[in-house]
């Protein structure tokens, strides 16, 4: 497997990079939805971010990438803990044609045939535990699969009741879905369940585009040299995420910020409370990334677009961009 492109070397796409970092700092914000054209670096960014994160400590050869102390199927709770090993943060691709079996896991056929024993064979959700699950063209995926993925992503646990099996295992991952809105839209009830959504396009400036290609080409020809050049920036970015993760629990959210979030959500008429909750969580992660211990109203303003733009109640035929509507509301309500 070839090495991924360095995260810091991605030209532009700041909103997407920031949203992914926020999700990496606090996976509980829910998945990230990236809408944009082909060839704009969506999958590159996800892979790059995973490579940037520090390796995780896991039990050796565990199909669930489980950490010591986690309860996973087929493991006796009283058994002696093996020596943990360091593994890279997993990134699992969910191919479009994937069946439910492959995703949630199913009966281990080998065991069933050889010994008649029922045993669970983990699927892609298990492999994505503690990492990223990337779905390209999520808008073309069967609705029932998207539903299932969002459920697991939100609960952090995969519950399997099929083929006479009854199994549950940890599946905490950052769900990243990408798609091209021209090819079909995601149902609103699914949209709402993604934590963040960003819209990206390819850079319009010729100079930027040339720079993107130049870097990519240099990387393809000489990956080691290129990675060495970016090493320093990668280390800085990694430290930023790691320290933000540690600091997250200590970040205060003053009432002014909560109130600002509530007023904003009311002004744009987002349904339910998911909007507010996500907005506050992401603002907290954003503050932590900026090495602050307190959420400011400006954090709320900054995260408003990615946290809310897919939650607007909208007429399917209304053409006003959601981003513009949020920007207007931010100016009116928060005065920033």
């Amino acid at each position: 497997m070839s090495k991924p492109f360095p995260f810091s070397a991605i030209v532009g796409q700041d909103e997407m990079k920031h949203a992914l970092m926020v999700a990496a700092v606090d996976p509980s914000v829910g998945g990230v939805l990236v809408f944009g054209d082909r060839g704009t670096g969506k999958s590159t960014a996800v892979r790059a971010l995973a490579a940037l994160l520090p390796p995780i400590s896991a039990r050796p050869d565990c199909p669930y990438n489980s950490a010591a102390g986690d309860a996973v199927p087929g493991r006796d709770a009283d058994a002696k803990e093996p020596r943990p090993v360091k593994i890279p943060t997993p990134v699992v691709d969910l191919p479009l044609g994937a069946t439910e079996d492959r995703v949630v896991g199913t009966l281990d056929l080998e065991r069933a045939l050889a010994t008649g024993e029922k045993r669970f064979e983990p699927g892609l959700l298990a492999r994505a535990n503690r990492g990223f699950l990337y779905i390209d063209e999520v808008n073309l995926l069967e609705d029932h699969l998207v539903d299932l993925l969002l459920d697991v992503a939100a609960s952090g646990e995969n519950v399997v009741e099929r083929e006479g099996l009854s199994v549950r295992h940890p599946a905490r991952f950052v769900l990243v879905g990408s798609g091209n809105p021209e090819e079909g839209e995601l149902r609103p009830q699914l949209l709402d369940r993604f934590g963040l959504s960003v819209e990206i396009g390819s850079p319009s400036e010729i100079a930027d585009r040339v720079e993107v290609i130049r870097r990519r080409d240099r990387f393809d020809r000489d990956p080691d040299g290129f990675l060495a050049d970016w090493e320093e920036e990668e280390v800085t970015a990694q430290k930023r995420i790691v320290s933000a993760r540690k600091a997250l629990a200590k970040v205060e959210t003053p009432d002014t910020a909560i109130e600002a979030a509530a007023r904003l959500c009311q002004a744009i008429g987002s349904d339910g409370l998911r909007g507010e909750l996500t907005l506050i969580r992401t603002a907290r992660a954003a503050a932590a990334l900026d090495r602050r211990r307190k959420v400011k109203v400006s954090d709320i303003a900054r995260m408003a677009a990615p946290a809310l733009r897919h939650r607007l109640r909208r007429d399917p035929l209304d053409e006003t961009g959601s981003t513009a509507r949020i920007a207007r509301a931010v100016t009116e309500v928060l005065g920033v």
């Binding site: 704009t40 191919p95 009966l107 050889a114 390209d136 083929e163 021209e182 585009r209 035929l317």
Partner: protein
């Protein structure tokens, strides 16, 4: 050497470039019907590549690509035996993919992911599509550097091969040693901008292609000639807009003039930015090369046949049930599961038999849940008489129906007719926003080619049905066509033609509705609706909401 090589020579050059650097270029999309020209092209590929050429059927089950169960071995030994996936086994070959336009979306996604990771074969997608809207899956095509069409090339056109097998090792060595890009990167990026290519894979692949071409030509620096060829082979097929449209139509109108090399020399040595010279050099050849028609991408066409197949037409597998696999697909997994618990008993009964014992009662066959997708096809009369009277109301009614379609996850298509013909302004899509945009800018005026519109509507409906979806035809018109199928004005002929066309719709058994948009409901539209076996209703005044209900009621029936 001329700046615009002939089509065969260009194709042979593309084959050579692919042979020089298959990993870097990803692969090739070849639009061609089976025939001598295609055979000749593939012969060139065979002769030049330094690896074996494998075959990968387009309709392949995605499961076969990845590591999976080896059934024969599993049954023989009674324990699970896994095989390496087809993709990994073929990864150092060039894979021919016949009928690539039928490729399953999952298969395409796996291959695309394999190409990204560098462990997939370099595919040559043989696009044999007959329908203009059939195309190879975009996600895969975007990762392949070269697209070319051999449509219309005959045996006589097959000519000399610019590069032979002996040139290959040298070219590979040159590429290995490094090629100076010169101004290639900036130029190709600018050309992408004027072609409206958003994806950054375009310029990156074009750059690699230009390098391979330079290596073939034995030059150390990429020059104008390589940039021109890379543009033709890699960028022009990705174009979403044609640069300098007015200049284009001028050049395209007469058959491209045969330019002598001298003339071209003169043209290309004119001063001006390199990208303009390249664009100018290929402007005349674009239509001639048949490149623009075959695989134009972008917003307008992005809801092609590919994504439709991804979900609905295969359906999702649901519970397997007992049964004989007569032509149906055996669910091997479920069959083995059924057989598993009986093994100890059966082994005892059939002493001495090795391995797994499966009896016919264990067979499980796979069932697919195939939600039938509906496509609402709107035929919108945009002629003068309509425009004057009730165009806005008709648009309003269509919009309401669009909103309803969105709720029901149906697809919509729009055909507008006015002037001399009918135009498919929106191929079946689920993107409502697009439908609304196209509808909003729909101009009105001109005579009424109703017959042509009905023919177009029927053709689209038949296409939709062939793909396993259910078409519904909704015509909004006053029924007073005045242009015949031949494009000539004349009410008598027009009326006869449209009645014929309407009967053909009825004969196909397509569910249809006709909404009479005349100011006063008249006999014309009613007669037409009868011929079409369509439900007839007059457009209610100032109550477009009513229409949506009525159409619903009739198409649901």
């Amino acid at each position: 050497m001329s700046a615009a090589p002939d089509r065969w020579e260009l194709a042979a050059t593309a084959a050579a470039a692919l042979a020089v650097n298959p990993e870097g270029l990803g692969g090739l999309v070849l639009r061609a019907r089976p025939g001598p020209a295609r055979d000749a092209f593939l012969d060139v590929v065979h002769a030049l590549v330094d690896r074996s050429v494998s075959r990968l059927p387009g309709g392949l089950d995605p499961a076969a690509l990845t590591a999976g169960l080896d059934l024969g071995e599993t049954l023989r030994t009674g324990r699970e035996v896994r095989t390496k996936g087809l993709m990994a086994r073929l990864s150092d070959t060039i894979a021919l993919v016949p009928m690539a336009e039928r490729m399953n979306g999952g298969t395409a996604a796996l291959l695309a992911a394999g190409l990204d990771a560098g462990d997939a074969p370099a595919p040559i997608l043989l696009d044999e599509s007959a329908e203009p809207d059939e195309a190879v899956p975009e996600a895969l095509a975007d990762r392949l550097a070269i697209a070319l069409s051999l449509d219309g090339l005959a045996v006589g056109d097959v000519g000399r091969q610019p590069y032979g097998p002996d040139d290959m090792p040298r070219a590979r060595a040159r590429l290995e040693a490094g090629i100076d890009d010169g101004a290639a990167l900036e130029t190709l990026t600018k050309i992408c901008a004027s072609f409206g290519i958003g994806s950054l894979r375009g310029p990156l692949l074009a750059l690699r292609l230009a390098r391979a071409l330079a290596a073939l030509d034995g030059v150390g620096v990429i020059g104008e000639e390589q940039i021109t060829k890379a543009t033709l082979l890699c960028l022009a097929p990705r174009a979403t807009v044609l640069p300098t449209a007015e200049e284009q139509s001028e050049e395209a109108a007469p058959p491209p003039p045969e330019e002598t090399p001298d003339e071209q020399e003169r043209r290309s040595s004119e001063t001006g930015p390199l990208e303009d010279r390249v664009l100018e050099a290929i402007a005349a050849t674009l239509p001639d090369l048949g490149l623009t028609g075959g695989r134009q991408r972008g917003a307008a066409k992005s809801s092609g046949a590919g994504d439709r197949r991804k979900s609905a037409s295969h359906g999702r597998p649901v519970r397997s049930r007992p049964g004989k696999p007569d032509g149906k697909r055996l669910d091997i997994f479920a069959t083995l599961l059924t057989a598993a618990p009986w093994q100890p008993l059966r082994r005892r009964a059939a002493a001495g038999r090795e391995g797994l014992i499966v009896v016919p009662d264990d067979f499980r066959i796979r069932q697919y849940d195939q939600p039938s997708e509906s496509v609402l096809i709107f035929l919108v009369d945009a002629s003068g008489s309509q425009a004057a009277a009730r165009m806005a109301e008709a648009k309003g009614a269509v919009e309401l129906m669009l909103a309803e379609a969105y709720r029901r996850r149906e697809k919509v298509a729009l055909i507008a007719f006015r002037g001399q013909g009918a135009e498919l302004i929106l191929p079946p899509t689920r993107s409502l926003l697009q439908a609304k945009r196209r509808l909003a800018v729909l101009p009105g005026g001109g005579p009424t080619p109703l017959a042509t519109a009905l023919v177009a509507g029927r053709e689209l409906a038949v296409q939709v049905r062939r793909r396993g979806a259910t078409p519904y035809l909704v015509a909004l018109t006053d029924g007073r066509g005045n242009i015949g199928l031949d494009g000539e004005p004349g009410r008598a002929q027009a009326t006869e033609d449209q009645t014929q066309a309407a009967r053909a719709i009825a004969a196909e058994g397509i569910t249809a509705a006709l909404i009479d948009t005349a100011n006063r409901p008249q006999a014309d539209a009613q007669t037409l609706a009868r011929a079409m076996a369509a439900r007839y209703m007059p457009l209610p005044r100032a109550d477009a909401r009513g229409i949506s209900k009525i159409v619903r009621a009739s198409v649901a029936a």
